[in-house]
Protein backbone atom coordinates (compact mmCIF):
# COMPACT_ATOMS: atom_id res chain seq x y z
CA UNK A 1 0.00 0.00 0.00
CA UNK A 2 1.33 3.40 -0.93
CA UNK A 3 2.27 5.62 1.95
CA UNK A 4 0.76 9.08 2.08
CA UNK A 5 2.52 12.38 2.61
CA UNK A 6 1.15 15.81 2.99
CA UNK A 7 2.26 18.15 0.22
CA UNK A 8 2.76 20.91 2.72
CA UNK A 9 6.38 21.91 3.12
CA UNK A 10 5.83 23.57 6.49
CA UNK A 11 4.07 20.53 7.86
CA UNK A 12 6.81 18.14 6.76
CA UNK A 13 9.54 20.47 8.04
CA UNK A 14 7.79 20.58 11.43
CA UNK A 15 7.54 16.81 11.43
CA UNK A 16 11.29 16.51 10.79
CA UNK A 17 11.94 18.95 13.63
CA UNK A 18 9.74 16.83 15.89
CA UNK A 19 11.77 13.74 14.94
CA UNK A 20 15.00 15.55 15.78
CA UNK A 21 13.59 16.74 19.11
CA UNK A 22 12.63 13.24 20.13
CA UNK A 23 15.63 11.32 18.76
CA UNK A 24 18.65 13.61 18.47
CA UNK A 25 18.40 16.82 20.47
CA UNK A 26 18.68 17.35 24.20
CA UNK A 27 15.34 17.64 25.98
CA UNK A 28 15.48 21.39 26.55
CA UNK A 29 16.54 22.28 23.00
CA UNK A 30 14.11 23.71 20.49
CA UNK A 31 14.56 23.79 16.74
CA UNK A 32 12.68 25.61 14.02
CA UNK A 33 12.50 24.59 10.36
CA UNK A 34 14.96 27.28 9.24
CA UNK A 35 17.63 26.66 11.85
CA UNK A 36 20.83 25.26 10.33
CA UNK A 37 21.47 21.70 11.54
CA UNK A 38 25.16 22.47 12.03
CA UNK A 39 24.30 25.19 14.55
CA UNK A 40 22.85 22.50 16.81
CA UNK A 41 25.66 20.02 16.29
CA UNK A 42 23.49 17.74 14.15
CA UNK A 43 26.02 15.72 12.22
CA UNK A 44 25.91 13.54 9.12
CA UNK A 45 24.96 10.40 11.04
CA UNK A 46 21.87 12.13 12.43
CA UNK A 47 21.04 13.35 8.92
CA UNK A 48 21.27 9.76 7.65
CA UNK A 49 18.75 8.86 10.39
CA UNK A 50 16.49 11.64 9.17
CA UNK A 51 16.73 10.56 5.52
CA UNK A 52 15.96 6.97 6.53
CA UNK A 53 13.00 8.22 8.55
CA UNK A 54 11.64 9.95 5.43
CA UNK A 55 12.09 6.73 3.44
CA UNK A 56 10.40 4.63 6.09
CA UNK A 57 7.57 6.97 7.00
CA UNK A 58 6.78 8.53 3.63
CA UNK A 59 8.15 6.02 1.15
CA UNK A 60 10.36 8.59 -0.57
CA UNK A 61 13.92 7.56 -1.31
CA UNK A 62 15.87 10.73 -1.99
CA UNK A 63 17.87 10.37 -5.19
CA UNK A 64 21.61 10.90 -5.15
CA UNK A 65 21.50 14.32 -6.77
CA UNK A 66 19.00 15.55 -4.16
CA UNK A 67 21.44 14.93 -1.33
CA UNK A 68 23.39 18.12 -1.98
CA UNK A 69 24.71 19.76 1.23
CA UNK A 70 22.41 22.75 0.63
CA UNK A 71 19.38 20.44 0.79
CA UNK A 72 20.63 18.95 4.06
CA UNK A 73 21.21 22.28 5.80
CA UNK A 74 17.84 22.80 7.48
CA UNK A 75 14.60 20.90 8.06
CA UNK A 76 12.83 23.15 5.58
CA UNK A 77 15.43 22.54 2.84
CA UNK A 78 15.18 18.80 3.42
CA UNK A 79 11.37 18.94 3.39
CA UNK A 80 11.43 20.92 0.14
CA UNK A 81 13.73 18.46 -1.63
CA UNK A 82 11.68 15.53 -0.31
CA UNK A 83 8.52 17.02 -1.82
CA UNK A 84 10.33 17.70 -5.10
CA UNK A 85 11.60 14.10 -5.21
CA UNK A 86 8.11 12.86 -4.48
CA UNK A 87 6.61 15.02 -7.24
CA UNK A 88 9.22 13.74 -9.69
CA UNK A 89 8.36 10.11 -8.93
CA UNK A 90 4.63 10.77 -9.24
CA UNK A 91 5.17 12.72 -12.49
CA UNK A 92 7.18 9.95 -14.07
CA UNK A 93 4.42 7.33 -13.50
Amino acid sequence: MEKTMSGNEQELAEELCAYLRSHVLARQVSIDPDQPFAQLGIDSMSIIELVLYIERKHGVALPDNALHPENLRTARALARCTLAARAEVVGSR
Binding site: V24, I31, Q39, G41, S44, M45, I48, E49, R56
Partner: protein
Protein backbone atom coordinates in the same frame (compact mmCIF):
# COMPACT_ATOMS: atom_id res chain seq x y z
CA UNK B 1 44.52 1.82 35.96
CA UNK B 2 43.67 -0.27 38.96
CA UNK B 3 41.31 -3.16 38.62
CA UNK B 4 40.55 -3.61 42.28
CA UNK B 5 38.10 -6.22 43.42
CA UNK B 6 36.92 -4.37 46.51
CA UNK B 7 35.94 -0.80 47.17
CA UNK B 8 38.99 1.38 47.81
CA UNK B 9 40.08 1.82 51.43
CA UNK B 10 38.38 4.71 53.14
CA UNK B 11 41.09 6.91 54.62
CA UNK B 12 39.13 10.12 54.22
CA UNK B 13 35.54 11.04 53.36
CA UNK B 14 35.77 9.43 49.97
CA UNK B 15 32.34 9.02 48.48
CA UNK B 16 31.11 12.49 47.83
CA UNK B 17 27.61 11.54 46.72
CA UNK B 18 27.39 13.90 43.75
CA UNK B 19 30.45 12.31 42.26
CA UNK B 20 29.67 8.65 42.56
CA UNK B 21 28.52 7.55 39.17
CA UNK B 22 28.44 4.17 37.38
CA UNK B 23 30.71 3.92 34.36
CA UNK B 24 29.00 3.79 30.98
CA UNK B 25 29.45 0.87 28.58
CA UNK B 26 31.60 3.14 26.42
CA UNK B 27 33.81 3.99 29.44
CA UNK B 28 34.23 0.26 29.97
CA UNK B 29 35.24 -0.22 26.33
CA UNK B 30 37.90 2.49 26.78
CA UNK B 31 39.12 0.65 29.88
CA UNK B 32 39.37 -2.47 27.74
CA UNK B 33 41.53 -0.58 25.22
CA UNK B 34 43.67 0.75 28.06
CA UNK B 35 44.25 -2.80 29.27
CA UNK B 36 45.00 -3.94 25.72
CA UNK B 37 47.58 -1.16 25.24
CA UNK B 38 49.33 -1.72 28.54
CA UNK B 39 49.58 -5.44 27.88
CA UNK B 40 51.61 -4.58 24.76
CA UNK B 41 53.93 -2.37 26.83
CA UNK B 42 52.38 0.79 25.45
CA UNK B 43 51.24 3.87 27.33
CA UNK B 44 47.60 3.81 28.36
CA UNK B 45 44.51 5.05 26.57
CA UNK B 46 45.12 8.79 26.72
CA UNK B 47 43.56 11.49 24.54
CA UNK B 48 44.93 15.00 24.12
CA UNK B 49 43.63 18.36 23.08
CA UNK B 50 46.16 20.94 21.94
CA UNK B 51 45.35 24.63 21.67
CA UNK B 52 47.98 26.75 19.92
CA UNK B 53 47.69 30.13 21.58
CA UNK B 54 48.58 33.59 20.32
CA UNK B 55 52.16 34.57 21.27
CA UNK B 56 50.86 37.12 23.77
CA UNK B 57 49.73 34.27 26.09
CA UNK B 58 51.35 34.48 29.53
CA UNK B 59 52.04 30.82 30.32
CA UNK B 60 53.54 31.54 33.76
CA UNK B 61 50.42 33.26 34.94
CA UNK B 62 48.20 30.68 33.24
CA UNK B 63 50.01 27.87 35.05
CA UNK B 64 49.06 29.25 38.47
CA UNK B 65 45.48 29.89 37.46
CA UNK B 66 45.04 26.36 36.11
CA UNK B 67 46.50 24.78 39.24
CA UNK B 68 43.93 26.64 41.32
CA UNK B 69 41.02 25.76 39.02
CA UNK B 70 38.43 23.93 41.14
CA UNK B 71 37.04 21.85 38.27
CA UNK B 72 40.52 20.69 37.30
CA UNK B 73 41.28 19.75 40.90
CA UNK B 74 38.04 17.80 41.09
CA UNK B 75 38.75 15.99 37.81
CA UNK B 76 42.19 14.97 39.06
CA UNK B 77 40.58 13.40 42.12
CA UNK B 78 38.23 11.15 40.16
CA UNK B 79 39.05 7.47 40.60
CA UNK B 80 37.62 4.16 39.44
CA UNK B 81 36.20 1.53 41.77
CA UNK B 82 35.56 -2.05 40.64
CA UNK B 83 33.60 -3.67 43.45
CA UNK B 84 32.69 -7.36 43.09
CA UNK B 85 29.16 -7.95 41.89
CA UNK B 86 28.47 -4.33 40.99
CA UNK B 87 28.98 -2.18 37.94
CA UNK B 88 32.27 -0.27 38.30
CA UNK B 89 31.83 3.37 39.20
CA UNK B 90 33.60 6.70 39.28
CA UNK B 91 34.02 8.44 42.60
CA UNK B 92 35.83 11.45 43.94
CA UNK B 93 38.72 10.73 46.26
CA UNK B 94 38.37 14.05 48.00
CA UNK B 95 41.47 13.58 50.11
CA UNK B 96 43.74 12.58 47.24
CA UNK B 97 47.15 14.16 47.13
CA UNK B 98 47.32 16.42 44.11
CA UNK B 99 50.84 17.40 43.25
CA UNK B 100 50.73 20.05 40.53
CA UNK B 101 49.10 18.56 37.51
CA UNK B 102 50.48 21.40 35.41
CA UNK B 103 53.95 21.50 33.88
CA UNK B 104 55.57 24.46 32.20
CA UNK B 105 58.12 23.88 29.43
CA UNK B 106 60.34 26.50 27.83
CA UNK B 107 62.27 26.44 24.54
CA UNK B 108 60.94 23.01 23.68
CA UNK B 109 61.68 21.58 20.24
CA UNK B 110 59.39 19.28 18.27
CA UNK B 111 61.25 16.09 19.22
CA UNK B 112 61.05 16.87 22.94
CA UNK B 113 57.42 17.95 22.56
CA UNK B 114 56.56 14.62 20.99
CA UNK B 115 58.61 12.54 23.43
CA UNK B 116 57.45 14.29 26.58
CA UNK B 117 54.07 15.90 26.01
CA UNK B 118 52.49 13.68 23.36
CA UNK B 119 53.72 10.55 25.15
CA UNK B 120 52.61 11.55 28.65
CA UNK B 121 50.98 8.56 30.27
CA UNK B 122 48.16 8.85 32.78
CA UNK B 123 46.75 6.46 35.27
CA UNK B 124 43.32 6.52 36.86
CA UNK B 125 45.06 5.90 40.17
CA UNK B 126 47.04 9.13 40.16
CA UNK B 127 44.89 11.56 38.23
CA UNK B 128 43.02 11.27 34.96
CA UNK B 129 44.19 14.61 33.55
CA UNK B 130 47.39 16.59 33.12
CA UNK B 131 48.21 19.94 31.52
CA UNK B 132 51.39 20.87 29.68
CA UNK B 133 52.06 24.52 28.92
CA UNK B 134 54.69 24.72 26.22
CA UNK B 135 56.72 27.61 24.87
CA UNK B 136 58.31 26.15 21.73
CA UNK B 137 61.63 27.10 20.17
CA UNK B 138 59.74 28.38 17.12
CA UNK B 139 58.05 30.97 19.35
CA UNK B 140 54.66 29.26 19.40
CA UNK B 141 52.80 28.70 22.67
CA UNK B 142 50.62 25.69 23.32
CA UNK B 143 48.45 24.25 26.01
CA UNK B 144 48.07 20.48 25.80
CA UNK B 145 45.41 18.84 27.96
CA UNK B 146 45.94 15.09 28.34
CA UNK B 147 43.17 12.98 29.83
CA UNK B 148 42.28 9.35 30.24
CA UNK B 149 39.90 8.25 27.49
CA UNK B 150 37.86 6.16 29.92
CA UNK B 151 36.75 9.40 31.56
CA UNK B 152 36.67 11.85 28.63
CA UNK B 153 35.34 11.49 25.12
CA UNK B 154 36.17 14.03 22.42
CA UNK B 155 33.28 16.33 23.39
CA UNK B 156 34.22 15.97 27.03
CA UNK B 157 37.73 17.21 26.19
CA UNK B 158 36.29 20.34 24.58
CA UNK B 159 34.08 20.84 27.63
CA UNK B 160 37.07 20.37 29.93
CA UNK B 161 39.04 23.00 27.99
CA UNK B 162 36.11 25.40 28.32
CA UNK B 163 35.81 24.68 32.02
CA UNK B 164 39.53 25.36 32.44
CA UNK B 165 39.47 28.69 30.62
CA UNK B 166 40.15 31.31 33.32
CA UNK B 167 38.11 33.81 31.29
CA UNK B 168 35.29 31.31 30.62
CA UNK B 169 32.16 30.46 32.55
CA UNK B 170 33.22 27.15 34.08
CA UNK B 171 30.76 24.33 33.66
CA UNK B 172 28.03 26.75 32.59
CA UNK B 173 25.46 24.78 34.57
CA UNK B 174 26.09 21.54 32.67
CA UNK B 175 26.15 18.19 34.46
CA UNK B 176 29.32 16.35 35.40
CA UNK B 177 28.06 12.99 34.11
CA UNK B 178 25.56 11.98 31.43
CA UNK B 179 21.97 11.23 32.10
CA UNK B 180 21.79 7.63 30.95
CA UNK B 181 18.36 6.63 29.60
CA UNK B 182 16.91 3.71 31.46
CA UNK B 183 16.39 0.70 29.20
CA UNK B 184 14.64 -2.41 30.59
CA UNK B 185 17.11 -5.21 31.17
CA UNK B 186 15.24 -7.62 28.89
CA UNK B 187 15.35 -5.16 25.96
CA UNK B 188 19.02 -4.48 26.63
CA UNK B 189 19.80 -8.19 26.51
CA UNK B 190 17.76 -8.64 23.35
CA UNK B 191 19.68 -5.77 21.68
CA UNK B 192 22.98 -7.22 22.85
CA UNK B 193 22.15 -10.60 21.31
CA UNK B 194 21.07 -8.96 18.04
CA UNK B 195 24.34 -7.04 17.78
CA UNK B 196 26.45 -10.09 18.64
CA UNK B 197 24.58 -12.07 16.00
CA UNK B 198 25.17 -9.32 13.43
CA UNK B 199 28.86 -8.99 14.28
CA UNK B 200 29.68 -12.66 14.47
CA UNK B 201 27.68 -13.39 11.33
CA UNK B 202 30.83 -12.84 9.27
CA UNK B 203 34.41 -13.75 10.11
CA UNK B 204 37.09 -11.44 11.49
CA UNK B 205 39.94 -13.91 11.46
CA UNK B 206 41.54 -12.67 8.25
CA UNK B 207 41.24 -8.92 8.69
CA UNK B 208 44.13 -6.83 7.37
CA UNK B 209 46.59 -6.27 10.19
CA UNK B 210 49.52 -3.87 10.25
CA UNK B 211 51.15 -5.20 13.37
CA UNK B 212 54.50 -6.84 12.65
CA UNK B 213 55.83 -8.93 15.49
CA UNK B 214 59.56 -8.67 15.93
CA UNK B 215 60.00 -5.07 14.72
CA UNK B 216 62.44 -3.02 16.82
CA UNK B 217 61.05 -2.05 20.22
CA UNK B 218 58.58 0.77 20.39
CA UNK B 219 60.01 4.25 20.49
CA UNK B 220 56.68 5.53 21.73
CA UNK B 221 53.76 7.09 19.97
CA UNK B 222 54.60 8.97 16.76
CA UNK B 223 52.32 11.78 15.71
CA UNK B 224 52.01 13.57 12.37
CA UNK B 225 49.59 16.28 11.35
CA UNK B 226 48.46 16.82 7.74
CA UNK B 227 47.15 20.36 7.35
CA UNK B 228 44.96 21.58 4.51
CA UNK B 229 44.43 25.27 3.73
CA UNK B 230 40.90 26.59 3.24
CA UNK B 231 41.31 26.26 -0.54
CA UNK B 232 42.69 22.75 -0.27
CA UNK B 233 39.87 21.78 2.09
CA UNK B 234 37.34 22.96 -0.48
CA UNK B 235 39.18 20.89 -3.07
CA UNK B 236 38.86 17.81 -0.82
CA UNK B 237 35.15 18.53 -0.30
CA UNK B 238 34.55 18.79 -4.05
CA UNK B 239 36.37 15.50 -4.47
CA UNK B 240 34.18 13.91 -1.76
CA UNK B 241 31.08 14.95 -3.71
CA UNK B 242 32.56 13.76 -7.00
CA UNK B 243 33.30 10.35 -5.49
CA UNK B 244 29.73 9.91 -4.28
CA UNK B 245 29.88 10.98 -0.64
CA UNK B 246 26.37 12.35 -0.22
CA UNK B 247 25.54 12.05 3.45
CA UNK B 248 28.66 13.45 5.04
CA UNK B 249 32.27 13.59 3.99
CA UNK B 250 33.53 11.09 6.52
CA UNK B 251 32.70 8.17 4.19
CA UNK B 252 35.05 9.68 1.61
CA UNK B 253 37.72 10.27 4.26
CA UNK B 254 37.48 6.64 5.34
CA UNK B 255 37.56 5.38 1.76
CA UNK B 256 40.70 7.41 0.95
CA UNK B 257 42.37 6.25 4.17
CA UNK B 258 41.67 2.58 3.48
CA UNK B 259 42.93 2.83 -0.09
CA UNK B 260 46.08 4.68 0.99
CA UNK B 261 46.81 1.99 3.55
CA UNK B 262 46.39 -0.65 0.90
CA UNK B 263 49.55 0.68 -0.78
CA UNK B 264 51.49 -0.08 2.40
CA UNK B 265 50.33 -3.70 2.28
CA UNK B 266 51.14 -3.83 -1.44
CA UNK B 267 54.67 -2.64 -0.71
CA UNK B 268 55.00 -5.38 1.91
CA UNK B 269 53.68 -7.83 -0.71
CA UNK B 270 50.94 -8.80 1.68
CA UNK B 271 47.38 -9.50 0.70
CA UNK B 272 44.59 -9.62 3.22
CA UNK B 273 41.02 -10.56 2.31
CA UNK B 274 39.45 -7.46 3.85
CA UNK B 275 39.82 -4.39 6.04
CA UNK B 276 37.74 -4.16 9.17
CA UNK B 277 37.25 -0.74 10.75
CA UNK B 278 35.03 0.65 13.46
CA UNK B 279 34.02 4.29 13.46
CA UNK B 280 32.96 5.95 16.73
CA UNK B 281 29.67 7.85 16.82
CA UNK B 282 28.85 10.34 19.53
CA UNK B 283 25.56 9.45 21.23
CA UNK B 284 25.40 12.71 23.17
CA UNK B 285 22.17 14.66 22.86
CA UNK B 286 22.74 17.57 20.46
CA UNK B 287 22.15 21.27 20.81
CA UNK B 288 23.78 21.65 24.22
CA UNK B 289 27.35 21.80 25.47
CA UNK B 290 26.68 18.63 27.45
CA UNK B 291 28.21 16.80 30.37
CA UNK B 292 31.88 16.86 31.32
CA UNK B 293 32.95 13.31 32.15
CA UNK B 294 32.18 9.80 30.87
CA UNK B 295 31.93 8.57 27.29
CA UNK B 296 28.64 8.51 25.45
CA UNK B 297 29.64 6.68 22.30
CA UNK B 298 28.64 3.98 19.94
CA UNK B 299 30.20 2.59 16.77
CA UNK B 300 29.45 1.65 13.20
CA UNK B 301 31.50 -1.05 11.50
CA UNK B 302 32.80 -1.25 7.98
CA UNK B 303 34.25 -4.21 6.11
CA UNK B 304 36.05 -3.51 2.84
CA UNK B 305 36.89 -6.31 0.41
CA UNK B 306 39.05 -6.06 -2.72
CA UNK B 307 36.05 -5.48 -4.96
CA UNK B 308 34.96 -2.55 -2.76
CA UNK B 309 38.41 -1.03 -3.04
CA UNK B 310 38.54 -0.99 -6.85
CA UNK B 311 38.32 2.82 -6.78
CA UNK B 312 37.53 5.60 -4.33
CA UNK B 313 34.00 5.79 -5.75
CA UNK B 314 33.34 2.07 -5.17
CA UNK B 315 34.80 2.32 -1.68
CA UNK B 316 32.55 5.28 -0.85
CA UNK B 317 29.52 3.44 -2.25
CA UNK B 318 30.32 0.40 -0.11
CA UNK B 319 30.75 2.50 3.04
CA UNK B 320 27.55 4.47 2.32
CA UNK B 321 25.61 1.22 1.97
CA UNK B 322 27.02 -0.46 5.07
CA UNK B 323 26.49 2.55 7.31
CA UNK B 324 22.98 3.25 6.06
CA UNK B 325 22.10 -0.39 6.61
CA UNK B 326 23.39 -0.32 10.18
CA UNK B 327 21.63 2.92 11.05
CA UNK B 328 18.38 1.60 9.51
CA UNK B 329 18.71 -1.50 11.72
CA UNK B 330 19.41 0.80 14.72
CA UNK B 331 22.65 -1.03 15.38
CA UNK B 332 24.46 1.96 16.94
CA UNK B 333 21.72 2.23 19.59
CA UNK B 334 21.74 -1.53 20.11
CA UNK B 335 25.52 -1.60 20.34
CA UNK B 336 25.22 0.77 23.31
CA UNK B 337 23.08 -1.90 24.98
CA UNK B 338 25.74 -4.52 24.31
CA UNK B 339 28.42 -2.30 25.85
CA UNK B 340 26.19 -1.65 28.87
CA UNK B 341 25.70 -5.40 29.37
CA UNK B 342 29.43 -6.03 29.10
CA UNK B 343 30.06 -3.78 32.13
CA UNK B 344 28.86 -6.69 34.24
CA UNK B 345 31.67 -9.06 33.27
CA UNK B 346 35.35 -8.78 34.18
CA UNK B 347 37.63 -6.98 31.71
CA UNK B 348 39.68 -10.13 31.05
CA UNK B 349 36.55 -11.87 29.85
CA UNK B 350 35.53 -8.91 27.67
CA UNK B 351 39.09 -8.88 26.34
CA UNK B 352 38.93 -12.56 25.41
CA UNK B 353 35.63 -11.99 23.61
CA UNK B 354 37.26 -9.33 21.41
CA UNK B 355 40.68 -10.92 21.06
CA UNK B 356 39.69 -14.42 20.08
CA UNK B 357 37.73 -13.78 16.88
CA UNK B 358 40.17 -11.08 15.72
CA UNK B 359 43.44 -12.64 16.81
CA UNK B 360 44.10 -9.61 19.02
CA UNK B 361 43.96 -7.04 16.22
CA UNK B 362 40.78 -5.16 17.24
CA UNK B 363 40.62 -3.44 13.79
CA UNK B 364 42.72 -2.94 10.67
CA UNK B 365 43.26 0.64 11.85
CA UNK B 366 41.45 3.05 14.14
CA UNK B 367 39.53 5.85 12.47
CA UNK B 368 37.44 8.78 13.62
CA UNK B 369 36.04 11.91 12.04
CA UNK B 370 35.28 14.68 14.50
CA UNK B 371 34.01 17.07 11.86
CA UNK B 372 33.79 20.84 12.16
CA UNK B 373 34.43 22.42 15.55
CA UNK B 374 31.57 24.95 15.17
CA UNK B 375 33.43 28.10 16.21
CA UNK B 376 34.27 26.71 19.62
CA UNK B 377 37.51 27.36 21.50
CA UNK B 378 38.41 30.46 19.51
CA UNK B 379 39.89 32.12 22.60
CA UNK B 380 41.49 30.78 25.77
CA UNK B 381 42.61 32.80 28.79
CA UNK B 382 41.76 35.96 26.90
CA UNK B 383 44.03 35.29 23.91
CA UNK B 384 43.23 33.95 20.44
CA UNK B 385 43.43 30.23 19.77
CA UNK B 386 45.20 29.80 16.44
CA UNK B 387 44.75 26.07 16.04
CA UNK B 388 42.97 23.20 17.80
CA UNK B 389 44.21 19.63 17.42
CA UNK B 390 42.79 16.42 18.88
CA UNK B 391 45.41 13.73 19.37
CA UNK B 392 44.00 10.22 19.54
CA UNK B 393 45.66 7.28 21.25
CA UNK B 394 46.94 4.50 18.97
CA UNK B 395 45.84 1.24 20.56
CA UNK B 396 48.30 -1.37 19.47
CA UNK B 397 47.41 -3.57 17.63
CA UNK B 398 46.34 -2.14 15.24
CA UNK B 399 48.85 0.63 16.06
CA UNK B 400 47.62 3.30 13.67
CA UNK B 401 44.88 5.84 14.36
CA UNK B 402 43.69 8.42 11.86
CA UNK B 403 41.54 11.32 13.03
CA UNK B 404 39.97 13.88 10.70
CA UNK B 405 38.91 17.25 12.10
CA UNK B 406 38.24 20.81 11.02
CA UNK B 407 39.11 24.05 12.72
CA UNK B 408 37.89 27.32 11.20
CA UNK B 409 36.93 25.42 8.07
CA UNK B 410 40.42 23.95 7.53
CA UNK B 411 40.83 20.19 7.38
CA UNK B 412 43.45 18.56 9.57
CA UNK B 413 44.35 14.91 9.76
CA UNK B 414 46.19 13.65 12.84
CA UNK B 415 48.05 10.37 12.39
CA UNK B 416 49.15 8.53 15.51
CA UNK B 417 51.19 5.36 15.11
CA UNK B 418 53.81 3.07 16.57
CA UNK B 419 56.83 1.61 14.80
CA UNK B 420 55.69 -1.97 15.27
CA UNK B 421 52.62 -1.30 13.16
CA UNK B 422 53.96 1.02 10.50
CA UNK B 423 57.54 2.14 9.90
CA UNK B 424 58.56 5.74 9.23
CA UNK B 425 59.15 4.91 5.56
CA UNK B 426 55.73 3.25 5.28
CA UNK B 427 54.16 6.22 7.01
CA UNK B 428 55.70 8.49 4.37
CA UNK B 429 54.14 6.37 1.63
CA UNK B 430 50.78 6.33 3.41
CA UNK B 431 50.78 10.11 3.87
CA UNK B 432 51.68 10.74 0.23
CA UNK B 433 48.92 8.47 -1.02
CA UNK B 434 46.35 9.79 1.43
CA UNK B 435 47.11 13.35 0.35
CA UNK B 436 46.73 12.42 -3.31
CA UNK B 437 43.54 10.40 -2.82
CA UNK B 438 41.88 13.15 -0.80
CA UNK B 439 42.72 15.83 -3.37
CA UNK B 440 42.33 13.95 -6.64
CA UNK B 441 40.61 10.65 -5.95
CA UNK B 442 43.60 8.93 -7.58
CA UNK B 443 46.78 7.35 -6.27
CA UNK B 444 50.00 9.40 -6.48
CA UNK B 445 52.23 8.30 -9.33
Amino acid sequence: MRACSVAPPVTHPVFTPFLTHPITGADNFQLLLDRHMRKQGQQGNVVRLELRLAPSADLDQLSGRLMRNEIYRMVRRVRLARPIGRVPYWYQDVGADLPGGVELHTAMDRAAFEATVLNRDLSLETGAAFIDLVACVDGSKRIVISAHHALFDQRGMVNLAKALDPEGNGLNGEALFPEVPSVPRSRRLKHAVQVMYHMLGSPFWYLARLWVKGRPPLTGLRTRVLRFSLNDTQLVDRQAWAQGARLGRSHFHLAATTMALRTVFAQRREHHPYFWVSMPLSRRPRGVRGHLMSNQLSFVFVRMHDKDLASVATSVASINGQIKEQIAAELPAKYVSLLEVLRHIPLWWFSAMVNLPMRGAYASFAFSDIGEDQDELRTFAGVDVLEVLNYPPAPCPPGLTITFMRHAGELKVVLASVEEAISAQEMGLFERQLNALLRTGEYAG
